[in-house]
Structure formats: structure tokens, C-alpha cells
């Protein structure tokens, strides 16, 4: 973990495009993972996130992802910023059985497990989760219990699917709206604004969403750590 002045920030980017679990191995290989990780790494760098880790393909195992999120959450410290991004396939919540999860190289990481890992972040920290996958907003319902202020940027609703293209329109739009060309967009002052812009001109069947575990978080400037006290 790099030592910086003030609140620390970290990002963990997951690009799960090599699935070996028997249930997932026959599925179409997700095409946009690497482009998404590249774009979001660039976005985070522009936002001042200095410590970033990308876990792609066979490196995106449940063990390594758990370790990376746990270490990053514990390491950002009070008032810090943690960004976790996921690109790949998802399993949909099944009422009474599970709340859904992200398909990794070897198995599914259930959202409830991810929530437990994010709980290591101090309550004064900020967590941003970017879900570029089917049923993307499903994790937001589970992350409501994370102590840190947590905002989920989802490619679609929990009952919607995204298509497997080489580039994610959601991610390219997110990059353009926040840090186009590495420069902050002065209009992007809150998650409320970002939500409105992300949803503009999108089909009803695949509409991005932004959800927070505390309503006040929607007024925060995206990708900023908590202000110093």
C-alpha cells in the first residue's frame, strides 16, 4: 500500500473473462473485461487513486479477489476511498437461496461475501462499486449493510441483462461523464447528476443505475474521499 498524505485511496479491478467453474465454462467469454479494466484504471488514476490492482482472467480467483478486497478495505484508513470494479458474468439473485454474485475464474463470489469484505473499511471511508455485468444493481441491496458510505454504479437493474460486446457502452459513458481524457468533468458534481446522465438515452430494457446505502451520499462528488475534518 502506497503511503500518501491524507486519506488513502485504493482500487481493485476485476476482469473475469476466463471462467473454469463447470457451470460457467460453457458460457460465452465476456468480451469487454479488459477494455473495462483499462478504462476504469485510467478513470481512477485521473481521480487520484494511487494504489490500484487489476485481477484479470485466471488471476481473478475467489481467493485472490477476497484477499485483494480485504487488504484494500483494511488499508485505506479513516476517510479513505475504495473503488471496486467488476466486469464479467453474474449469477442472478434467487429468492430464498442467495442474493446473486459475480462469476470469477473458479467460482461465484456471492454479494454477501463481498459485503463482508467491504465491511473492513472504516465507517468514515467511502466505497464505490462499479458493476459492469448483468443484474448489476443486485449487489446494491446487499451492500446496504456496509458501514462505510457505499455507492454502486450499475450497468443495469437487478432484473436486467447486458449484452456481451467488446466495449461496454455503460463504461465508456461513465468515463466520458467523469474524467474524459483524464480531466475531471466540472459538471459532474454529484452522484445524483451522474445517475441522471448515465440513464439518459438508454433503452428501458437496460438502464444504468446509481444507488447508495445512505441517501446523503448521492450528493457527494463522485470518486472523492471523505473531506478532512
Amino acid at each position: 500500500m502506497t503511503s500518501v498524505t491524507g486519506p488513502r485511496s485504493a482500487a481493485v479491478h476485476i476482469g473475469a473473462d476466463d471462467l473454469r467453474h463447470p457451470r460457467h465454462a460453457a458460457w460465452a467469454r465476456p468480451l469487454s473485461c479488459r477494455d473495462t479494466v483499462e478504462r476504469l484504471s485510467r478513470l481512477c488514476q485521473a481521480a487520484g487513486v494511487r494504489t490500484q490492482q487489476a485481477l484479470l482472467g485466471p488471476d481473478a480467483t475467489t481467493g485472490r479477489i477476497r484477499a485483494a478486497i480485504a487488504a484494500a478495505a483494511a488499508g485505506i484508513g479513516p476517510g479513505g476511498l475504495l473503488v471496486v470494479t467488476f466486469s464479467g458474468h453474474s449469477e442472478r439473485p434467487v429468492p430464498g437461496e442467495h442474493d446473486g454474485g459475480w462469476c470469477l475464474h473458479d467460482a461465484v463470489l456471492r454479494h454477501v461475501e463481498t459485503a463482508a469484505l467491504l465491511a473492513a473499511a472504516p465507517a468514515s471511508a467511502r466505497v464505490v462499486v462499479i458493476a459492469d455485468t448483468c443484474y448489476a444493481a443486485a449487489c446494491a441491496a446487499v451492500f446496504t449493510g456496509v458501514p462505510a458510505t457505499t455507492v454502486v454504479l450499475a450497468a443495469c437493474a437487478e432484473n436486467q441483462a447486458t449484452l456481451n460486446y467488446q466495449h461496454s457502452e455503460f463504461i465508456t459513458k461513465l468515463e466520458r461523464l467523469t474524467y474524459h481524457g483524464g480531466r475531471p468533468n466540472p459538471d459532474c458534481r454529484s452522484y445524483t447528476w451522474l445517475r441522471r446522465e448515465l440513464r439518459k438515452d438508454t433503452p428501458d430494457v437496460e438502464r444504468p443505475d446509481v444507488r447508495a446505502n445512505h441517501p446523503a451520499a448521492m450528493r457527494q462528488r463522485p470518486f472523492r474521499p471523505a473531506p478532512r475534518r
Binding site: W27, R92, Y165, P203, D204, V205
Partner: protein, 133 residues
Amino acid sequence: MIGAGRPIPGRWTAAAYTCLMVALYVAEPAVVSLTVHDHVQLDRVTGTSAERYGSLIQPGTSSVSLAAGTYVFRTAADAQVQLDKGAPVEVTAVPLSDDKDKWPDPPPAATNPLPAARGDGPPDHVPALTVLR
């Protein structure tokens, strides 16, 4: 009528996953009439990717001019595609599921592969597609 109302038992909830995906294979430039009930995006499939084709299609009936190629759109409600008699266009509903063996009739030769969803399982409900000539 293709893919009319196929409920998947056991997973129907208030926030049901409802989706119909339609592919249009256009051999020569043609005009099709689409009737949809929500805001729909038409994509032109290019290789393993796709590009948005035109603006969002508004609810109601719209005439759309299509160049030769493969197009897809998805909707959460029933849809109707009307073609002129003899129009060189094939229209089919595409399964959205992880069962890769359940594809529709093979598309015409030399067309691009259709995209799949990035998630497990088929929709809870598949709206109906009606094709009129």
C-alpha cells in the same frame, strides 16, 4: 408468433426479468415497421461487437430503414415487426439464456454471430414477437 409468453416457473418475482431479443437479418436495404411498447435501442452487429443504429425507438410504430446487415433489439414487452411482401429480411426471436444449444434456426450464411447476455439463466418471461408480411 414466436416465443410467445414462455414463463419460467419458480423465479417469477415482482421485479421479474422480462426480455425479448429480436434479430433481423437484412440481405438488401429494406424498410421495416416496428411496433414496440417501450424505448428500444436497435444495434447493428459488427463482428463480435455492435454499434447503436439510429436514435432510441419510441413506443408506438416506427418505420426504420435498414442497410444490409444483422441487427438486434431487446424489449420488455410484446413487439411486432411488419415487412413488405418479399422484403429480404428474416426476423427471429433469440433465446437469452446460458443454454447455448437452444439457438433459433441458423441465421443466413455470412452473418455475424449474435451477442449473448452476461448473466445466467433465461428471462422469467419472454414477451411475444409477431412478424407480419
